[in-house]
């Protein structure tokens, strides 16, 4: 049945010729575990696309609803935690594998002539993946999301000359809000996926045109060692893909994607920390002080990007063996060690515990206020009902004695009031009064 169908298609569009061209595509020096990284990245991209599309079934990109919709995905929707967890961990794996893939190409000297364009497209892809990480961050609109985006966009704002303009364009205004979330969503779900698909397609296509590099030792790329792509390489690819898939799914179940409290722009007690793969940037931002700050936010990242772009044009010797490229290998080694060290330092950066300026009884009173449903009639800082008076500054208007008498019998102090008597124990009444007094 299947063979007949394929025969039918083959008769019309020669699909077997196409497949045999793919399957017999020669791999100089034979199949290798080192070559599984690129195909696994392609696999993760597809995984991210699918999980992302399905997350979009329930996600709402506005500050009013984003948090609640993510909470729904995480806690209520069937398999929601798994789908979101896989999208979350898929992003981490993407970061790790893209770094390993680049490192492999660097060590093998595969970026050299005639594959310079393949390398350049790869550098572009790294940029896009960072863009994904940065824009995806904000979408849940929790504390981590909000503060990471405040910091990240401010980093862009330090770019000399155009920083202010860039900041506003990124945020869709001077502050984070509706327009920030909607444009981050559009970039994350439309602009970047299409750009990545296009660039990744070109990356593979140009590599096919230029020809794969194979091993660094020309002797090991002799025709007798050449193997076709299928089955050996595709088998290795599949085994590694399976391993990565299982790892992502297991992590999604064992260590679900976090969701912190909803974003609160007024919170001065929160300790913002980025996702682990940005720790090295985070640490870099801690190092340079005062007017040197721009070194960490702009100069070093720009130099790093430029070095990556220029690498195949600066290092033009045909020699590919790492043992004969000592200077470059040492520089690469120092960079890797540096990034790992910065990552560890960033992870260990001390937090600043917020001192309790608010007394415990005020906090307790605040809880009582919430628990007893006072906000059904009263509002504080624009939150709550409008039936009773606004209490935002009640502490400045009423003294302690008045408040206590009023709680016990509202009509006695304020004739005509429709507020019910507060039947609370003395201590609770005291805490509630403390809270009222703190509102000034």
């Amino acid at each position: 049945m299947m063979t007949k169908l394929i025969d039918w298609i083959d008769e019309r569009i020669s699909i077997r010729t196409l497949w045999s061209a793919v399957a017999n595509r020669p791999i100089p020096g034979g199949a290798s575990w080192f070559y599984v990284l690129g195909s696994t990245l392609l696999f993760i991209f597809i995984l991210q696309m699918l999980s992302g599309i399905f997350l979009a079934l329930y996600y709402v990109p506005t500050p009013d609803h984003a948090y609640a919709s993510v909470k729904f995905i995480q806690n209520e929707a069937a398999f929601g935690g798994l789908v979101r967890g896989m999208h979350h961990w898929g992003a981490s794996f993407m970061m790790v594998l893209i770094a390993l893939h680049m490192l492999r190409v660097f060590v093998f000297g595969s970026y050299k002539k005639p594959r310079e364009m393949v390398w350049l497209l790869g550098v572009g892809l790294i940029g896009i993946v960072f863009g994904f990480a940065f824009t995806g961050y904000l979408l849940p609109w929790d504390q981590k999301a909000y503060w990471a985006t405040v910091i990240g966009t401010n980093v862009a704002g330090t770019v000399p000359m155009v920083g202010g303009l860039l900041l506003k364009i990124l945020r869709g205004g001077s502050e984070l809000g509706n327009l920030t979330l909607s444009r981050f969503f559009a970039i994350h779900t439309y602009v970047l996926p299409w750009s990545l698909a296009l660039l990744a397609g070109l990356h593979v296509f140009v590599m096919e045109l230029a020809g794969p590099g194979g091993k660094w030792d020309p002797a090991r790329n002799s025709p007798d060692r050449t193997e076709p792509l299928f089955p050996n390489q595709i088998f290795k690819d599949s085994i590694f893909v399976l391993f990565v898939f299982l790892a992502i799914a297991a992590l999604a179940l064992v260590s679900p994607a976090g969701l912190e409290p909803q974003a609160d722009p007024t919170d001065t007690t929160y300790n913002p920390r980025p996702e682990w793969y940005f720790y090295f940037v985070f640490q870099l931002l801690r190092i340079f002080e005062g007017s040197y700050e721009v070194v960490g936010t702009f100069v070093l990242p720009t130099i790093a990007g430029m070095l990556l772009v220029l690498l195949p044009f600066v290092d033009r010797r045909p020699e590919r063996a790492p043992a004969k490229r000592r200077v470059l290998m040492s520089l690469g080694g120092v960079t890797v060690v540096g990034v790992i060290a910065l990552t560890i330092m960033g992870a260990m950066a001390p937090v600043v515990q917020a001192p309790s300026v608010t007394s415990p009884s005020v906090l307790a009173g605040r809880l009582l206020y919430d628990k007893n449903g006072c906000s059904a009639c009263h509002s504080i800082h624009a939150k709550g009902g409008t039936i009773g008076p606004d209490l935002t500054h009640v502490g400045a208007k009423r003294d302690r004695d008045w408040l206590v008498r009023h709680f016990k019998d509202p009509q006695a102090v304020s004739p005509g009031s429709i507020m019910p008597k507060t039947a609370l124990p003395e201590n609770d009444l005291k805490e509630l009064t403390d809270y009222m007094q703190s509102l000034r």
Binding site: V155, F282, G296, P350
Partner: protein
């Protein structure tokens, strides 16, 4: 091929290029403007009531919250704000924006050390907003304040962060 053919051919090549250059430029201008212009709208901060000035103690910064109406795209919404208020010995009041001038984290007053500390990249400020340590490129941002009938009024301005100059964002 005659000269006539060549010029006819080059005419068509140029026309094709011109057509798509025109379409590209016109569309790019429209889309670019659509994407960027709303982002460049200027903010106009009003005066907000940040509470009573009666209970401000000299040398003890107080955190105050208030709400102001902010237009965010299609929505006018209540945006909560935080500021720090400091009463100085000469009885003047200073209000600081709650964003660290480095990259915008919410910093806090550490009473035991008598200084403001930012939890992100480790900037430290004294009570006058001066940078004592860390990456912050300028002192804490002061906000315009005035006192009316015992109430502190604040104009909540948003500044561009991470640079040495204090410019409105």
């Amino acid at each position: 091929m005659s000269n006539h053919d060549v010029s006819r051919r080059s005419f068509m090549v140029r026309t094709i290029i011109a057509i798509f250059a025109f379409i590209g430029a016109a569309f790019a201008a429209a889309l670019g403007g659509f994407g960027i212009m709303p982002a460049l709208k200027k903010r106009e901060p009003g005066w907000s009531d940040a509470g009573s000035v009666a209970d401000l103690t000299e040398g003890l910064p107080q955190e105050r919250r208030f709400a102001e109406i902010v237009k965010s795209g299609w929505q006018s919404e209540k945006q909560e704000r935080t500021i720090w208020i400091v009463r100085k010995a000469d009885n003047t009041l200073t209000a600081y924006a709650s964003s660290c001038p480095h990259l915008g984290c919410g910093y806090r007053w550490v009473e035991a050390e008598q200084r403001f500390a930012c939890p992100c990249h480790g900037s430290i400020f004294d009570i006058n907003g001066k940078v004592l340590a860390g990456p912050a490129p300028r002192p804490l941002d002061t906000l315009p304040v005035r006192v009316e009938n015992g109430r502190l009024l604040v104009q909540y301005e948003v500044y561009q962060l991470g640079i040495a100059q204090k410019l409105p964002a």
